[in-house]
Amino acid sequence: MYAAWVYKHKPKSLKRVVGNREAIQKFVDWVKSWEKGVPKKRVAFLYGPPGIGKTVTVEALANDFHMELVEKNASDYRTEEAVKRFAGLASQYGSLFGGKRIVLLDELDGLTGTADRGGVRAITEIVKTAQCPVVLIANNAYNPRFSNLRKYCLLIEFKKPPTSEVMKHLNRICLREAIQVDEDALKFIAQRSVGDVRSAVNDLQALTQGKKRITYEDVSWLGYRDRQEKIFTVLKMIIYGKTCVGAKRAVDMADVDIDMLFEWIYENVPAHLTDPHDLARAVDALSIADVYRGRIRSTQNWSFTRYVIDYMTAGVAMARQNTKVHGWIPFKFPGRIRMLSRSKAERAMQLKIGHKIKRKCHISAVRASKEVLPYLRIIFKNNVDMAVGLAKWLDLEPEMIEYVAGTKKKAGAITQLLG
């Protein structure tokens, strides 16, 4: 049976919820405080970006604490009347069957426009008189619409969990589904989701359909599977476009942002435009688009975006004067983006060493990691005495020595002499 993994592997207990330990503890403390009578803030307002486990936290808590969860979402309380009907539920702590009750109003962001204003007002009323824990969830608690409501609420912010936490969760799912996913593939999925656990799990499921083993190569391609076809069409419209308007229209079809689209075009233009004049014109157009990006940064004038779009689409399309439309050449995932996610750990290490150098050498850690580190490498490779002296002088830690020396053996010799 096909079941969406987001539901199938939803954390049943707070222990299993990804990240947000602090927020969860705050929430648990508040729920426990109901045991000693109605607390000052009768309502907890959980907020944060989508897919990071706000609803899951409430459900897991209800499960852990054996509480009856009464859950409503936006569509259920659009009007004042609807909310009032629902209000009775919140009027007592104990439920009919003796258990404790917790009321959840989810997707508060869904209340939009004047039509729903009564809804927010009615919720505010419930909130003041609630006799059992009421939980509100929204992406943005600081929406002016909630300004009055907010006063009565314990605000609990949920943040995007770090990649490592997301990876742990994905790993658990892989184990349970008995599939093998390479670590860097898993990392890629986790990073791509930027903290949105729900989308990461969805991606994982989409990627593993029918496979038992997933490698990085599968992911870097298939990671965009759903979007892949779309981005290919978009790239074709741009690189082989015949009119400016046609090429520019491609931007509306692309579901990646302008910078990402730029990377896709920049990556793929050279393989397609084989005529050197065409290529020079196209890369030139991209470089002008980039100049406008710089101007946007320095002036903060975002209306210049239209010129970025002109050059990266129409500019590239018009560059093709000699190259014929040829057979199938695959489009590649932007190399610069891939490089970025792959070498993150390495860059972190370099930066750590950079900070050590910075303390001694009046040079920024970033610059030190690029300008001084390469020379350290050479020294560490060739001259153990000098390496020992420098390691001591810079106060390098063992892992750093190992990184600079390149091999465990070399590092061992250096550390031994360091004593």
Binding site: D284, I363, S364, D385
Partner: protein
């Protein structure tokens, strides 16, 4: 041989020790004598003595206890607006104890500060002028906002001339008891052309090999520090392989941290050195200049330089047709 980074060990301690940037040093000495310093911008390429000049000035002003009167902040490590708001302000507003009523704040790599942070800095500079003078250090003064530039005395540092770089390296070689051959010196200048920090780092890495330092040693060190070299990249473009050339460029920038301005400089040299048709040389020089300017403005190094590479591919193609 001593076991520190030599670039640090042989950094001049006082303005009197500084061998280069003579006019700048004279002006700074007069600041030290009059015990008054305006806000300054030190602009110029890497390894030309900007940070050193700031530290020397501080030592000449406050004596050996200068550490208590100066703060160094590196904008590329902490370049946000909050740093300016908190760190800088906290330091700037407290009056210095001692004869000189102001402290000195050195903001290194100030061209990496966001424009918001620079705006905030501008107000801080105005407000606490009495208690704190700022020295902003940057590669490109153009990346510093106009209102700050107009409040600062500008100092433009230039690459060290050959003889000054040689003199310095010889001095180090003598102190460290190295055998440094003349052809080794030639090679260092060829590779580092006036960036003294890089020259010294090269020398130290070369010394780690424990053999006489000749041209071969220097080239191999420089080659290993930046394995993909510019000449090879240009050859690749001339052979019409743009994708491979772009990959080499990407590695140079991303993996080995070569500065875009440095790559541009080398391409510029190579273009005039190579055997392109004469008309092409000047045509390409125009492209190089334009790209150089865009980098100063803060454009993306790889994208801009690859536009230049595509032009080179075009040139190579034309050249092949003519033959």
């Amino acid at each position: 041989m001593s076991f520190e980074m030599w670039a640090e060990k042989y950094r001049p301690k006082t303005l009197g020790d500084m061998v280069n940037q003579k006019e700048i040093v004279e002006r700074l000495k007069s600041f030290a004598r009059s015990r008054n310093v305006p806000h300054c911008i030190f602009a110029g390429p890497p390894g030309t003595g900007k940070t050193t000049a700031a530290l020397c000035l501080a030592r000449d002003l406050y004596g050996d206890a200068y550490r208590g009167h100066i703060m160094e902040l590196n904008a590329s490590d902490a370049r946000g607006i909050n740093v300016v708001r908190e760190t800088v302000k906290t330091f700037a507003r407290v009056r210095s104890i001692g004869e000189i009523p102001f402290k000195i704040m050195v903001l290194d790599e100030a061209d990496n500060m966001t424009s918001d942070a620079q705006q905030a800095l501008r107000r801080t500079m105005e407000r606490y002028t009495e208690t704190c003078r700022f020295i902003l250090i940057a590669n490109y003064s153009g990346k510093i906002i106009e209102p700050i530039q107009s409040r600062c005395a500008p100092f433009r540092f230039t690459y060290l001339p050959r003889e000054e770089q040689d003199r310095y390296l010889r001095l180090i070689a003598e102190k460290e008891e190295l055998s440094l051959l003349d052809e080794g010196l030639d090679a260092v200048f060829e590779v580092c052309s006036g960036d003294l920090r890089r020259a010294i780092n090269n020398l130290q890495a070369a010394a780690s090999l424990n053999k006489p330092i000749d041209a071969k040693v220097i080239y191999s060190i420089a080659g290993r520090a930046n394995p993909a070299d510019v000449r090879k990249m240009i050859e690749t473009t001339m052979n019409g392989n743009f994708l491979e050339a772009r990959k080499q460029l990407r590695d140079m920038i991303r993996k080995y941290g070569v500065a875009g301005s440095d790559i541009i400089r080398q391409i510029h040299t190579e273009i005039f050195r190579g055997n392109l048709p004469e008309q092409w040389k000047i045509k390409l020089a125009d492209v190089v200049g334009e790209i150089d300017y865009r980098l100063v403005e803060g454009a993306d190094e790889e994208v801009q330089l690859s536009a230049l590479l595509a032009r080179l591919v075009e040139a190579g193609y034309e050249l092949g047709k003519a033959k």
